[in-house]
Subunit: 155 residues, 6 copies
Amino acid sequence: SLLSNQKVIHSKDQIILIETNLDDTTGQELSDVMAILLTNGAKDAWVEPITMKKGRPAHKLCLLADPTNSETLTKIIFEHTSSIGVRQQLLDRKIMQRDLKLLKTKFGNLHVKYLSYAGITKVSLEHDDLVSLAQKNKLPIKNLETKIMNLIQSD
Amino acid sequence: SLLSNQKVIHSKDQIILIETNLDDTTGQELSDVMAILLTNGAKDAWVEPITMKKGRPAHKLCLLADPTNSETLTKIIFEHTSSIGVRQQLLDRKIMQRDLKLLKTKFGNLHVKYLSYAGITKVSLEHDDLVSLAQKNKLPIKNLETKIMNLIQSD
Amino acid sequence: SLLSNQKVIHSKDQIILIETNLDDTTGQELSDVMAILLTNGAKDAWVEPITMKKGRPAHKLCLLADPTNSETLTKIIFEHTSSIGVRQQLLDRKIMQRDLKLLKTKFGNLHVKYLSYAGITKVSLEHDDLVSLAQKNKLPIKNLETKIMNLIQSD
Amino acid sequence: SLLSNQKVIHSKDQIILIETNLDDTTGQELSDVMAILLTNGAKDAWVEPITMKKGRPAHKLCLLADPTNSETLTKIIFEHTSSIGVRQQLLDRKIMQRDLKLLKTKFGNLHVKYLSYAGITKVSLEHDDLVSLAQKNKLPIKNLETKIMNLIQSD
Amino acid sequence: SLLSNQKVIHSKDQIILIETNLDDTTGQELSDVMAILLTNGAKDAWVEPITMKKGRPAHKLCLLADPTNSETLTKIIFEHTSSIGVRQQLLDRKIMQRDLKLLKTKFGNLHVKYLSYAGITKVSLEHDDLVSLAQKNKLPIKNLETKIMNLIQSD
Amino acid sequence: SLLSNQKVIHSKDQIILIETNLDDTTGQELSDVMAILLTNGAKDAWVEPITMKKGRPAHKLCLLADPTNSETLTKIIFEHTSSIGVRQQLLDRKIMQRDLKLLKTKFGNLHVKYLSYAGITKVSLEHDDLVSLAQKNKLPIKNLETKIMNLIQSD
Ligand code: NI
Ligand code: NI
Ligand code: NI
Ligand code: NI
Ligand code: NI
Ligand code: NI
Ligand code: NI
Ligand code: NI
Ligand code: NI
Ligand code: NI
Ligand code: NI
Ligand code: NI
């Protein structure tokens, strides 16, 4: 679903972090709302286990988003959880430059991210592609990952 | 203990988040200090499990407060935990408007928060009231909650 | 509320561990049910954060009890949570012998457990007593704890 | 996907718990292996956060299964994670009797579990059905849940 | 520190699991006691975050050991933590057969475990060896790991 | 390794918090990178367990540092973990004034921090010193801690 050869070249931007503590929302609902947030533009969403007042084992719901998306995502939280208030802050982000390529191998094609930042370079294989190639080739994922990483490092 | 018909009408404000990592404070002490912080004006207080340096399974103590309360609450942390430094930041908060009412039902009276934000509305039953009405009426809490929520939705 | 000079002299017994995973129960409900379990004879009750199937951030509810209490406590779990099945096992327990005394000090009286097991001895101050004596004497809890522990060690 | 009117009538059985600690397996891999375990007959699978030796923030992978499935699931763990040993134990399980029905409502059909154990009865709506009916009827999930639970309680 | 060519050939044994809940022990102390337990024969030791009664964010200390070591390790727990009772159980363990070799590569020597169980085979590089070879060769650990894994897979 | 009689007299400063979510980094690697970050100037580093998208039980890596160190530490994260982006923010910090002394006792010498903030004073024994004095004197750590704290409080 990603275009081959997409580039992200800026290495700094700003992102908004939105958080809310939930002691009246279930695990099922947390899983549902994370999916809805991601579908509606959140760049990341996650849950942290916390112990709240009155001895309540509860959760903190967190998300990162483009600042322009803040209001939309806040409304989703209010609609789909028991939250009655969220807190938010604008953060600086440093990101590795990303060059996304479609790599053709004898095992099949997979997306590879070539990452770089101030002279540091690394490579990240798209995990879902790796999983399906491993199934297709009847190889353990780890084995296939080693073989493909070795191909890339030998270039 | 809350007045009937109290309203919170602003939907934005600022709140201070204070945090400290603790590897030399026990669970008993964390529970004590959370209670003291809440008694002294913290709007929320919670603990997150973390793994600190030297392999220490430890805790992060967090609280939200009105900025004017920051100094008082910092001193409580220094007095009641092993913390030797706290970090703090001012956050924007978005909150649902709250209209608190005392609802009279055949099961007894309970406090209900009518919440709204940009066209989204929801209702929250005061949990402690629900627990005591459930005991009084010898009904499972969930059953009673359904019955009362249904009354409210049918209005 | 404890008698002075109570002794627990056996150092081995058996205890039942009951556990259930919950992805449809809130933090409020978990806190309520822990309290009910303890009131009804559970020797300990606690909650562990877990990640369940379908990406659900959920909880495992656990309790320890005398085997004769197993059925009563299982029913409480079924009544007060969304659990539809619990697992249980009989465990061996090794316990320190406990000699509970009421210690009279210039700060006031507090309960102290003298513990021993195979030549190892230690002393545990009743935490709630310590908290109230600290308040009464306007001393930090830690300071008072040191003073009282030192009295005991100097005996 | 569930048949209408399926019944589980026994209220006790035995189940095997398999566990392994993992400090060399990533979150991606843990999510993958949980899915594979469930596809291959595990009755439940979950992950607990732990702090292991050498200060490693790691995970415990756990599953419940029919004892006849133990060997198959152990092999999946060895194949798909870095585990080099698993521990297992046979547990007693108490389960509520389940009567699964397809409930026809004006909002659409959904699966409902009627649960009972020693005189305790409760009802559980199939969460995924509820989510899709809520979408179809453009109602918040919580609202729909209340309406349907009320229908059932009024029977 | 490991001999070359050590073999573990049995694939089943029994192991004892010892656990205790701690709400009056600090993270520093937990880290200390884990190290002492491992030095005194525990095969594994770890800590799980839990929420205990009275709203205490606390920890469960766990260890695996040879059953003959149970009493020694129990005493260490009683001596070095606030625990006044531990629970224990004998578990079945399934383990992969291990053949430990010292692998000579152009990057230096490192220990490698060749693991097998019922037809499944895998290879595990000793992590600490990998870390020191990476430093010596000024290579990122991941890169070196790929290169060495590829050497092994190509044999 | 610390000088006797070092003082920290300012009670406010600013510190940078850097965070990244990791679902493709192992516990071994997290432990390694925390050590490297601390060696390279991080003032604190820790890991929090989180549940990320696609049901991944993962970790958040966090560190505090002097703002001038931000770029160096970001590069270490990019080099030693799977992170492809970090977020950072400048926080206000309130810190207790610290007066570090080498205390001579009949048990041996140990470092002691005398801490103060707005009239609140407390004392912190260097944990590693305490551990080695306890070993040297064959005393339980807690006992020795009580004895030394009592010496200090009696001054
Ligand atoms: Ni593509
Ligand atoms: Ni992967
Ligand atoms: Ni009122
Ligand atoms: Ni409730
Ligand atoms: Ni008494
Ligand atoms: Ni205490
Ligand atoms: Ni656990
Ligand atoms: Ni639900
Ligand atoms: Ni490794
Ligand atoms: Ni010194
Ligand atoms: Ni956190
Ligand atoms: Ni200490």
